[in-house]
């Protein structure tokens, strides 16, 4: 029996082939370790490829940004976070952004340029200077290609279309993972001295979502189930400008460069919400609330739930050159020519500020388990992330995770585990699969997903209040009960997408519960979390991180302090 049992073995296993995962793997490789990436989609198909507008670093290349430096980047980030970010983490982030950005350029990333040959920068919401580096509006595509190229150069092993199902933890120490291979249909255990989760965001739980179909929270759920705490999950960022109906994101770069927001009356309404000097350049949370307020008060276009983004005054040339992605999306998906017509837009769920609790070394509570990217909560974004900061987060903290795991292994801390624990974990997942296939219920998981979506959209959206949140919580718990009666999935073992959705939708219910509980408890408005019944930010009671744990199947909340350093706390006005 002993021989038949196969375990894949690597020093370091990185879960996720998005920007954070690839950057972590490159670093771990360069530190001299045997690293493998396990990803449920080919790296180039990761959500990261969708990123458009850019990546922040205070290069001071822009004529209007000569005074920019890392401290100003840090301060803008902290202010943007509504002072919920940990300031030591932000400091590390803003400092390291610079070398990381130059390194990406040295690896060949095709950034857009200024006439003097330097990397171009554009203004983004909430930033004091034009600080956002970009490649047209396809920054994510260019970045992920650049990193993927570097993994090829280094011959880094990638397990493509392998879905990780479980984190193996023993004595507070991470031992590896169990994964399901879509092409083979087999379950396999991976032995590793350290594991890095870079599994991306959660926001497919919202029906109006800008996220890729693959952003299903699975990594966050796995960590939660393995006993790790999640932090600040109630903070859900809504992107103000997504194409009406389809929710394809139209980059904030458009507003940064002067596009207008117009309501049904043709008014540039932003002056009602922020100063005339800022207008459309306000941060995302403020802009999303402004748009939603216009819609709620009946000034959506034609009384509907959208308003216009108008970039006609840019002229055909600028639109096609600087915003080819917007041009294409409008023409292809809606038959709208942004050169001639305003674009119908609405806010949509976009980015998860919360995630697996970690510090700025990417350390978690479990030895040998590290996290980076959107699945992690460091936290540098606090209650609201500024545009362009998340791409840089994937790079800075991906790299740090790669380095940190290497230090962890080099320090000789992990004692190797016997095969028993892998056999056990594998058996557990085999039984889980069997249990799922043998279900006798009739409920459709997709129906549950769609009902959950309606709850999240209507009760846990841009504006929140107690009554709605309470009802949402009850309804989610009802759905959790109904989930016990879902029909069995298709029983084939290879490329079984129905099975994956079964697993993911179960996770959706868990994550939604955490989001709602956090939102219900937090009796204040801060960043993306806007309570109609507690309209003010309340530093006295709520300047703290929400921490959620799963204890005996129950979600339990607690709180921990925010780290404040030399940046202090202040008012957030624009």
């Amino acid at each position: 029996m002993e021989e038949e049992f196969s375990v894949f073995s690597h020093d370091i296993v990185v879960v996720g082939g998005g920007l954070a995962g690839l950057r972590a793997a490159i670093e771990a490789h360069d530190c001299g370790f045997d690293v493998a990436v396990v990803s449920k989609v080919h790296p180039l198909r990761s959500h990261s490829v969708m990123a458009q507008g850019g990546i922040n670093a205070s290069l001071a290349n822009h004529p209007e940004g000569k005074e920019d430096n890392w401290e100003k980047h840090a301060f803008d980030t902290i202010k943007g976070s509504d002072f919920l970010a940990d300031q030591d983490a932000v400091e590390t982030f803003a400092k390291e952004a610079l070398v990381n950005l130059y390194e990406l350029e040295h690896w060949g990333c095709p950034f857009s340029r200024f006439p003097n040959g330097k990397i171009a920068q554009r203004p983004f919401g909430g930033a004091g200077f034009p600080r956002t580096c970009f490649g047209a509006d396809k920054t994510g595509l260019y970045l992920i290609n650049t990193l993927y190229e570097q993994t090829i150069k280094r011959n880094i092993k990638i397990y493509e279309e392998w879905v990780v199902l479980e984190l193996i933890v023993e004595d507070q120490t991470c031992r590896g993972i169990v994964a399901y291979s879509l092409p083979e249909g087999e379950l396999e255990a991976f032995k590793a001295k350290a594991v890095i989760f870079c599994t991306g965001g959660n926001l497919r739980i919202y029906p109006k979502s800008s996220n890729s179909i693959t952003s299903t929270a699975s990594g966050v759920v796995m960590a939660f189930r393995a006993g790790l705490p999640l932090k600040d999950m109630e903070f859900v960022q809504f992107h103000p400008t997504t194409l009406y109906g389809l929710n394809l994101t139209l980059t904030e770069g458009a507003r940064g460069e002067g596009a207008y927001l117009l309501n049904d009356l043709g008014e540039r309404f932003m002056s009602r919400y922020v100063s005339e000097a800022i207008m459309e350049k306000a941060p995302r949370d403020i802009t999303s609330r402004a748009i939603q307020t216009e819609i709620n008060e009946g000034r959506g276009v034609g009384g509907k739930d959208y308003i216009y983004l108008d970039m006609r005054h840019f002229g055909a040339n600028t639109i096609k050159k600087r915003f080819p992605g917007i041009y294409e999306a409008c023409m292809e998906f809606r038959g709208i020519n942004p050169v001639k017509e305003p674009i119908p837009i609405q806010p949509a769920a976009h980015w998860s500020m919360g995630g697996i609790d970690c510090d700025y070394n990417t350390d978690t509570e479990v030895n040998g388990f590290f996290v980076a990217g959107e699945c992690a909560c460091v936290s540098i974004h606090g209650a609201n992330r500024l545009g362009g900061n998340s791409l840089m987060e994937t790079i800075v903290f991906g790299r740090r995770a790669g380095r940190r795991t290497s230090e962890y292994i080099a320090n000789g801390r992990p004692k190797s585990a016997g095969n028993g624990i892998y056999r056990e974990a594998l058996l557990k997942q085999e039984m889980r699969f069997q249990g799922i296939f043998e279900r006798t219920g009739t409920e459709s998981p997709y129906k549950i997903k769609s009902e959950l979506g309606t709850i999240m959209d209507t009760r846990v959206g841009i504006f929140r209040e107690e009554q709605d949140l309470r009802q949402a919580l009850n309804e989610i718990r009802e759905l959790q009960k109904r989930y016990e009666d879902v029909r069995p999935p298709y029983k084939g073992r290879r490329y079984n997408y129905d099975l994956l959705w079964h697993l993911d939708i179960e996770g959706f219910l868990t994550i939604s519960e955490v989001i709602v509980m956090g939102a219900l408890n937090r009796q204040e408005s801060r960043g993306s979390h806007a309570r109609l019944d507690y309209k003010e930010r309340d530093d006295k009671n709520w300047l703290k991180h929400t921490v959620a744990r799963l204890i005996d199947g129950e979600v339990i909340l607690s709180y921990k302090p925010v780290t404040i350093t030399k940046f202090g706390i202040g008012k957030r006005e624009y």
Partner: protein, 232 residues
């Protein structure tokens, strides 16, 4: 609306076949949404890839009503038919239903050493790159590696050793980038029987590329570069 979908599970089926499904179609619905409707409501065994749903990740390339397309960007209404007929990408082994094995495609891609081989030691800050040079790589950097050009190429279907349009486009991308210093080595890789000379300029790559890239143009530019090199 009828969907006629290619089905094949090599482990269980001797031969491929087509399944027909009746779908309620709403205005603005894409072929990808149609496939999800089938998965969720009609046949949960259907296998197809998807991710970004906005034509940037390259997952859902397939053959729809006689054309190679991204399913996410294909509006059903624009097909102007009452039957949507879907097959997997050609020239690649079928793993299941609409899922093909992209390995041969990526193996060729890897052959061209698809990463910047810098001309000089990196400076402290960025390499300078002129606007003109940056503009020259426009287009070639937009490749999604979705495999449509490869699937649509008649030459690939005749000779699997042909590098294919995407790999050659990538070569062009690096040769043209002023920061890269490996032109001669790169030209040597593509200036072979199974490289640029294998192309019969049938233009399917250009015709079907979802990002309007023109690999055939890059191939001819590379041919000229090779001749230039000979005279230098």
């Amino acid at each position: 609306m009828k969907f006629r979908v290619f089905r094949f599970d090599p482990e269980n089926d001797c031969d491929p076949y087509f399944d027909e499904f009746d779908l309620p179609v709403e205005k603005g619905m894409t072929v990808l949404e149609g496939l999800y409707y089938i998965l969720e409501n009609l046949d949960s065994s259907l296998a197809f890839r998807s991710s970004c749903r906005c034509a940037i990740c390259g997952s859902c390339s397939m053959y729809i009503n006689g054309q190679f397309r991204l399913a996410c960007r294909t509006l059903i209404a624009n097909l102007e038919t009452d039957m949507v007929s879907i097959r997997p990408l050609s020239n690649l082994p079928i793993l299941k239903d609409l899922v093909v094995d992209m390995k041969p495609f990526f193996e060729n891609y890897k052959l061209i050493e698809p990463y910047l081989i810098p001309k000089e030691q990196p400076p402290e800050k960025e390499y300078y790159q002129s606007l003109q040079n940056r503009e020259k790589i426009d287009g070639s950097i937009d490749c999604l590696l979705c495999g449509i050009c490869y699937g649509a190429c008649p030459t690939v279907s005749l000779r699997k050793d042909y590098l294919g349009p995407a790999a050659i486009t990538k070569t062009f991308r690096f040769i043209t980038d002023s920061r890269d210093g490996a032109m001669e080595k790169r030209l040597a890789v593509v200036a072979t029987e199974d490289g640029i000379y294998r192309c019969h300029t049938i233009f399917n790559c250009q015709k079907f590329c979802p990002k309007d890239i023109d690999p055939s143009d890059y191939i001819s530019q590379l041919k000229r570069k090779v001749v230039w090199q000979l005279f230098k």
